[in-house]
């Protein structure tokens, strides 16, 4: 404890890490389901915006936070159903539809926010819950045990994702749909139905990640509030090599960069420009892609529509 001056900022940064990582974890885990089944959704940014807005709208109209999250989840499922119908059943290009969803998300939420009446005072967001005893442990306490429920929820989420993907028949089918759909079809299962369901499930979770921003992080909706987190989730999936645990770890790392750059912005004469940490996730993702190259862990039939 010689250099006391760094102690408090260190705690602040580390405590912010998990919080910063939370929306990305939700978005990346959700998108992972769809990618594992073979559907790439680059429209995460738009879906998250829709989630952020619908959760916020529900809360403004008096819904309890929990209900607002559920509402965001349902709206995300609807968005996913549209995306899935277009890409899986009509077999339109996934990248193009994803790009359109980003525009739609920006447009729809911006439009509704401006024409609707959402007050200006914001909403009452969920409070951090301190875990008894654990929260009082010095250093570790504030970093790990004083968070809002959604932050803690990332743990069961990651566990759930792991369990579904690797321990259930559904997960087995999903992975087959993305890695070699012909085998799934030969086993008598519908590739399209599995892909569609994965997209719907995935978008619901992505949407919750967006809602976190308005219901647990700030208390307001701002146009474009997602500000790149959707794209960062895409990077996290690559970086985490399409596994739930990898995604969790990569999100925490990226969350750390996020927290660091926010902290650096508050320091007037920092030796390192905060943008260095801002850019780190994207640069690292490119590096990972280059290193694994053709041997990448990506599902083999990602972006390829299923044709028997």
């Amino acid at each position: 404890m010689e250099d006391f001056s760094l102690y408090v900022p260190l705690i602040t940064v580390l405590a912010a890490t998990w919080r910063m990582a939370t929306p990305i974890i939700f978005a990346a885990i959700g998108a992972m389901f769809s990618e594992k089944a073979g559907v790439l959704n680059i429209g995460l940014e738009g879906i998250m915006l829709i989630g952020a807005f619908s959760g916020f709208a529900a809360a403004v109209h008096g819904a309890p936070i929990f209900v607002a999250f559920v509402f965001a989840l349902l709206v995300g499922a609807v968005a996913g159903a549209i995306f899935g119908y277009l890409t899986v059943y009509l077999k339109t290009n996934q990248i193009v539809v994803g790009a359109a969803f980003n525009l739609l998300g920006l447009g729809i939420t911006g439009f509704l926010y401006r024409v609707g009446d959402f007050g200006s005072s914001g909403i009452k967001i969920s409070n951090p819950i301190s875990i008894p005893f654990l929260a009082d442990i010095p250093f570790v306490g504030p970093i790990l045990f004083q968070h809002t429920p959604m932050v803690y929820l990332t743990l069961p989420l990651v566990f759930m994702a792991f369990f579904v993907l690797y321990r259930t028949a559904y997960g087995l089918n999903l992975r087959a749909a993305g890695d070699y759909p012909n085998a799934l079809a030969a086993a008598g299962q519908s590739v399209n139905l599995h892909r569609f369901s994965a997209v719907v499930l995935g978008c619901s979770i992505v949407s919750v990640g967006g809602a976190f921003l308005t219901l647990s992080y700030t208390n307001q909706f701002v146009e474009g509030i997602v500000s790149g987190r959707g794209f960062m989730a895409l990077a996290v999936i690559v970086f985490g090599r399409w596994t739930p645990l990898g995604i969790f770890g990569a999100s925490l790392l990226f969350g750390l960069f996020f927290a660091l750059q926010l902290f650096l912005q508050t320091i007037s004469d920092a030796a390192i420009p905060y943008q260095a940490f801002q850019a780190m996730p994207y640069v690292l993702t490119i590096v990972v892609l280059v290193l694994v190259g053709g041997r990448s862990n990506a599902p083999k039939f990602l972006t390829v529509p299923f044709q028997r």
């Binding site: 790439l40 680059i42 277009l86 009509l90 077999k91 339109t92 290009n93 990248i95 193009v96 539809v97 790009a99 359109a100 969803f101 980003n102 525009l103 739609l104 920006l106 447009g107 729809i108 911006g110 439009f111 509704l112 401006r114 024409v115 146009e223 790149g228 794209f231 960062m232 895409l234 990077a235 690559v238 420009p273 943008q275 260095a276 801002q278 850019a279 994207y282 640069v283 993702t285 490119i286 892609l289 280059v290 190259g293 053709g294 990448s296 990506a298 972006t303």
Partner: protein, 345 residues
């Protein structure tokens, strides 16, 4: 017969725009406004005065450039989602060069800026092309990542090395007068950029459909295996096509900077790079068509601002219309291809 086919090929885009506008009207009505009023305000915003129309063309300029470039990239089978980043790369270099041009003759300074920015955009796109050709890294992911790297670099420049001397705002100093792109209509901001954009679109059309290089690129886009059989270097053409689209995005940025904003700042693009995807798709990846689809989206953007002021309908509506245009175009295209595939059933 050629004409009949041309008219037929116009069918899907026109229908797509109609669907999108109709849906927009529905939204406007649901939100409690009059769609007739909103769209007529938009019409005024577009054609109401010479000044309004000049703003349309001003906004269309980067969209035409980016759309024409992306059309070539998409035709070559390269999914360049990174026009936004290539725009920023061009913008940064344009600013750095422009700030050095104090006292240099405009006949020299302007071409130098435009060329430097194009090269920067080409380089930024070329990175993703190289990584795909050499390491098999998906250009979809790398271009998205490079978007952010460029945007963050820009943010670094305007808060650091290039920050204005006064140190008030995160923006560069004003570029010297010598770098001002010549205006073509007095009393408006319209400059020769629109000419450059149209010429670039025509050149792009020439390259992709009339030149040897374009033949190779299209072959690579249509069938990489057959292209290799025909002795065409697939990797080289991937890098060429994405670099070319990057160059046009960089060029667009320099025109925007020395023609309109006069400074580098953090958000020099309101999403031109993503909108350019819609422009290219609506044009069915034909660079000549990008002149019209770029103008249309420029008009929507410009008209929407007047619509917002006049009718109170939020201008973000145009993002919805753009998104719907993309989805309609691609869905109509898929349905048509599907019908063609199975005439029997």
């Amino acid at each position: 017969m050629r004409y009949a086919e041309t008219i037929k090929s116009l069918g899907a885009p026109v229908l797509a725009i109609a669907i999108a506008l109709a849906f927009g009207a529905l939204l406007i009505e649901v939100a409690g406004f009059s769609s007739v009023e909103a769209y007529s305000e938009m019409w005024t915003g577009i054609f109401g005065s010479m000044r309004n129309f000049s703003e349309v063309l001003l906004k269309a300029t980067p969209l035409i450039l980016i759309g024409a470039g992306l059309a070539i990239s998409f035709r070559s089978g390269v999914w360049n989602i990174g026009a936004e980043g290539q725009f920023y790369a061009g913008g940064m270099v344009a600013a750095v060069v422009a700030l050095q041009m104090e006292g240099v003759n405009a006949w020299i300074s302007i071409p130098v800026i435009l060329i430097a920015a194009s090269l920067a955009g080409a380089f930024w796109g070329g990175i993703a092309g190289f990584l795909r050709a050499r390491y098999g890294a998906s250009e979809i992911v790398t271009t998205i990542m490079l978007n952010y790297v460029a945007i963050i670099l820009t943010s670094y420049l305007v808060t650091g090395p290039l920050m204005e001397a006064q140190g008030l705002f995160p923006q560069s100093d004003r570029f010297p007068q010598e770098t001002q792109l010549p205006r073509i209509l007095s009393g408006t901001r319209l400059n020769i950029g629109i000419y450059i954009a149209i010429i670039a679109a025509i050149v792009s059309w020439y390259i992709i459909s009339q030149s040897r290089r374009g033949f190779s690129m299209r072959a690579v886009g249509a069938s990489p295996d057959a292209a290799r059989y025909a002795g065409i270097n697939v990797n080289k053409n991937i890098i060429y096509s994405i670099s070319y689209s990057g160059a046009l995005a960089g060029l667009a940025a320099s025109i925007e900077l020395i023609g309109v904003t006069k400074r580098l700042f953090q958000t020099i693009s309101p999403g031109y790079g993503f909108e350019g995807i819609a422009v290219a798709l609506l044009a069915n990846n034909n660079p000549l068509g990008a002149i019209f689809s770029g103008a249309l989206f420029g008009a929507l953007r410009s008209g929407a601002e007047i619509m917002q002021i006049g009718a109170g309908v939020p201008s973000v509506l145009i993002f919805i219309i753009q998104g719907l245009v993309i989805i309609s175009v691609i869905t109509l295209g898929t349905i048509r291809a599907y019908r063609k595939l199975r005439p029997e059933d």
